[in-house]
């Protein structure tokens, strides 16, 4: 395997003197492993990158996308273990890459992954039903505090970002919710629109349709700054009109979910840099900008030290919650 790779590298080096500086180059089809089922946010993220790479021919080799969403995505991350050292398996996910091993006993460790890059931060908002009486996030939290454990907070899974955020919200404000896990943000959105739960913390893209239709409305965004102003979503309001949660009197500075790309550990030197370069180019295309704007994420390219710092911080924050809630498996 390594010898064949070495030979291939030799050929490439001889053939493309100009590209020699780039080091590793793929010589056979590449598999993009999606750690979610078809239709989910991670699936869209991956297929968007695939379509941009295809359009601009950023990689000469064919790309196959495969969904391995079993076990909240653990099935996909396990590829890092079963295909250790294989630079033709690129794994696409979120922060569950490093958070999943805390809450479930899995066959991979975070150290089995080589970080490549993070391309975007998905935002979280606090949503209530459109006709709910609460004007501000503060109003809602006060109402919940007045009647603890009667208000239902819907979320897309158990022990994931939504439940972590709910836990942080409870600790910081003292408001106690009943957390109900559903399957995916779409289902949660429908439950709120139908009035079966009182609130949820969906990403913008998961609830934009219902906001437009006047079924739900956002109270605040868990971001350090307001979202960028775009076209108005409803008649009167756009994303930039939503106050940050801190402005709204809820002291949660920031809660964002990175969209991440990984390789298995032990891949040949230069492979991670190769994909990092390709993804960097992807993040600079107009199509990518359009995707970021349409899904109301924050486009931020993280790699190398900036990625490490982000992961370390996010890991610490989530770990505190997991320990407090007793989710960590031994």
């Amino acid at each position: 395997m390594t010898r064949r790779l070495g030979m291939a590298l030799g050929f490439l080096a001889a053939g493309m003197a100009g590209a020699a500086a780039q080091g590793w180059q793929p010589t056979k089809p590449i598999e993009f492993v999606v750690t979610s089922s078809p239709g989910g946010g991670t699936d869209n993220f991956t297929r968007m990158i695939q379509s941009i790479i295809m359009k601009y021919k950023l990689i000469d080799q064919p790309i196959v996308v495969s969904n391995k969403g079993g076990g909240s995505g653990a099935e996909g991350y396990l590829v890092s273990k079963t295909a250790a050292g294989d630079p033709y398996k690129v794994i696409f996910g979120t922060n569950n890459a490093y958070l999943l091993p805390y809450v479930a006993k899995l066959g991979y460790k975070f150290s089995d992954l080589t970080p490549v890059a993070a391309l975007a931060l998905d935002e979280f908002l606090l949503w209530v039903k459109a006709d709910a009486p609460y004007k501000t996030a503060k109003d809602y939290v006060e109402a919940v505090k007045a009647k603890p454990e009667t208000y239902k907070m819907g979320g897309s899974q158990s022990k994931d970002t939504d439940q972590t955020l709910t836990s942080i919200l409870s600790t910081v404000t003292g408001a106690k919710f009943i957390y109900v896990p559903f399957q995916g943000g779409g289902a949660v959105g429908t439950q709120l629109a139908g009035g079966h739960v009182n609130s949820h913390t969906n990403n913008p893209n998961e609830s934009i349709g219902q906001w437009k239709a006047g079924q739900v409305r956002p109270l605040c965004v868990f971001s350090p700054a307001r979202l960028p102003a775009g076209p108005k979503v409803t008649e009167t309001a756009g994303w930039a009109d939503i106050p940050t949660c801190k402005e709204a009197g809820i002291p949660v500075e920031r809660f964002q979910m990175p969209r991440t790309v990984w390789l298995p550990a032990g891949t040949p030197p230069g492979a991670a840099q190769f994909y990092e370069g390709v993804l960097k180019k992807v993040s600079e295309t107009p199509e990518w900008q359009e995707y970021i704007t349409r899904t109301v994420q924050t486009g931020q390219f993280l790699s190398g030290d900036s990625l490490k710092a982000f992961v370390a911080n996010d890991d610490k924050l989530s770990r505190e919650v997991f320990e407090r809630e007793g989710w960590i498996v031994k």
Binding site: G39, K81, G186, A187
Partner: protein, 499 residues
């Protein structure tokens, strides 16, 4: 834009040569993936998805949905001819379709299946056309207790009458439930029944179980019965197809009932698989030839096929209007919608009427194209049965294992399929019913999630299942169906005393 005018506008969008060509290509590709067990519509559609990135959304969705229709039709073909469901939703078709083919009525069975499927699909689209404005409101009434009610209804309508000894049916259901529980539990977020094996993390695929239980189990039985080396001698003429078509109106009651069941399950959304099981159960209950079910009764083919297709088509409505996929294939298409730059949700109907109505119109046309294409191929498919078992048997084994591997690309699934084959053989020898196991595997997991979500919401009070008229009527209907056999027995006992 509403109803009729929207539809006319849609036909204007869909009726171009380019789009009709895409429909034909989609249907043919679909039949191909439908015939191969395991490949199936969801996989086929996700393989085709990258090709649509550069297409305009209307053309792209026409290609994908046409492939879906084709796959649904193809899936019934293998169910009837080889007892191997190409699609999970065509499992119920095997119950009577396969015996019919065995009795030399393959052409009839296939024609019945395709015609009733076409009928179901058209009813589904008519419903979408009529209800597009109203259904979103209705679907919003559904929360976990209501979903549990729907699944309970599906179980009750099927289980109460399985015909097998109740204890054996219970064993089969329990096994199905425990198989469905393997993997990550979405309510607690912890792993269950994986015993530390990473291969079990994603759970046991229902399709692998079906391929083993039906395909391989059936082969082992055939081999034990003594190798019948010659195929079934069935004379096939295109006229048979026509004659079967003439008989269709006689089955109007089954067609109508199954369409209603299918549309209901597609919109709520319980999914086509649950719909086909439920409809089969109801057909058996209301049939005058109840004893003939499972031995090759046409109604046993018509019922699941009609429900399957009307559920498959009407599931497109919650997908577009709520972003809530009613089937696995709809989930893949939902991903497509977002990549093409559309936001599924209530506003899609307002913002992109050309897309929505173009799609709805293409569903009429696509299904007509599909029925014509598959009917034309019935004699071809049915003639496969004339090939001697010595040739077709090994081919089926190969197709089964390819199918099992294609689902997730896991070598482990091959062993699993083999194990299920042995289990299927044992079940048949010991006279345990397989259908309850399949049903529990398909909707057991969802039923459990819905139940536990309801319990979280109500803080453990069962009263939540009687908390509003909708869920109450669902539960009552389920209970009536569950105890129907008992009620029947009671009535018979009472009658002589009254006389």
């Amino acid at each position: 834009m509403d109803g009729f005018s929207g539809l006319l506008h849609g036909f204007g969008v869909a009726l171009t040569w380019h789009h009709i060509l895409l429909m034909v290509i989609g249907v043919l590709l679909g039949i191909l993936v439908g015939v191969l067990p395991g490949l199936g519509a969801p996989n086929g559609v996700s393989l085709l998805l990258p090709l649509t990135f550069t297409m305009d959304p209307v053309a792209a969705i026409i290609l994908l949905t046409s492939m879906y229709w084709g796959a649904l039709f193809g899936g019934s073909t293998t169910s009837i001819l080889f007892n191997i469901p190409g699609e999970p939703s065509s499992v119920a078709t095997t119950f009577d379709g396969y015996p019919m083919a065995q009795n030399g009525r393959a052409t009839e069975a296939l024609s019945f299946a395709f015609l009733s499927a076409g009928f179901g699909a058209i009813v589904g689209v008519l419903l979408i056309t009529a209800l597009s404005g109203w259904v979103t409101q209705f679907a919003l009434k559904f929360s976990s207790p209501e979903f549990f009610g729907v699944y309970f209804l599906a179980f009750a309508s099927f289980v109460g009458l399985s015909g097998a000894p109740p204890l054996k049916a219970a064993v089969s259901i329990a096994l199905g439930f425990s198989l469905a529980a393997v993997g990550m539990d979405s309510v607690s977020g912890s792993l269950r029944l994986t015993f530390g094996f990473d291969v079990l993390l994603a759970g046991i695929s229902f399709l692998v179980a079906v391929i083993g239980l039906f395909g391989i189990g059936e082969l082992i039985l055939t081999i034990e019965d003594g190798l019948k080396l010659d195929g079934i001698r069935a004379k096939i003429t295109p006229r048979d197809v026509l004659r079967t078509a003439m008989q269709m109106p006689k089955h109007w009651a089954t067609l109508l009932r199954s369409s209603i069941v299918g549309c209901w399950m597609g919109i709520t959304p319980g999914g086509p698989t649950a719909a086909s099981f439920m409809s089969y159960g109801l057909a058996k209950r209301f049939s005058a030839y109840r004893a003939n079910f499972g031995k090759g009764e046409p109604d046993g083919v018509i019922a699941p096929e009609t429900a399957d297709h009307s559920a498959g088509t009407s599931a497109m409505l919650p997908m577009m209007a709520l972003g809530l996929p009613g089937s696995a294939t709809a989930a893949v298409m939902l991903g497509g919608l977002m990549i093409w730059g559309l936001n599924p949700g209530p506003m899609l109907f307002v913002e992109r009427p050309d897309f929505v109505w173009g799609l709805i119109a293409s569903m009429y046309l696509g299904n007509v194209v599909a029925v014509v294409l598959v009917l034309a191929t019935v004699p071809l498919f049915a003639s496969i049965l004339r090939i001697p078992f010595a040739i077709i048997g090994p081919l089926i084994v190969v197709v089964c294992f390819i199918g099992a591997y294609t689902i997730a690309g896991r070598p482990f699934d091959l062993w699993l399929a083999l194990a299920f084959g042995v289990l299927g053989y044992a079940f048949k020898k010991l006279d345990y019913p397989i259908a309850p196991l399949i049903l529990a595997m398909v909707i057991g997991d969802k039923a459990e999630d819905a139940f536990r979500q309801s319990m979280i919401m109500s803080k453990g009070s069962l009263a939540i299942f009687w908390s509003n008229p909708l869920v109450t009527s669902l539960m009552l209907l389920g209970l009536v169906l569950l105890f129907w056999p008992l009620l029947g027995a009671l009535r018979q006992r009472l009658r002589p005393s009254r006389a």
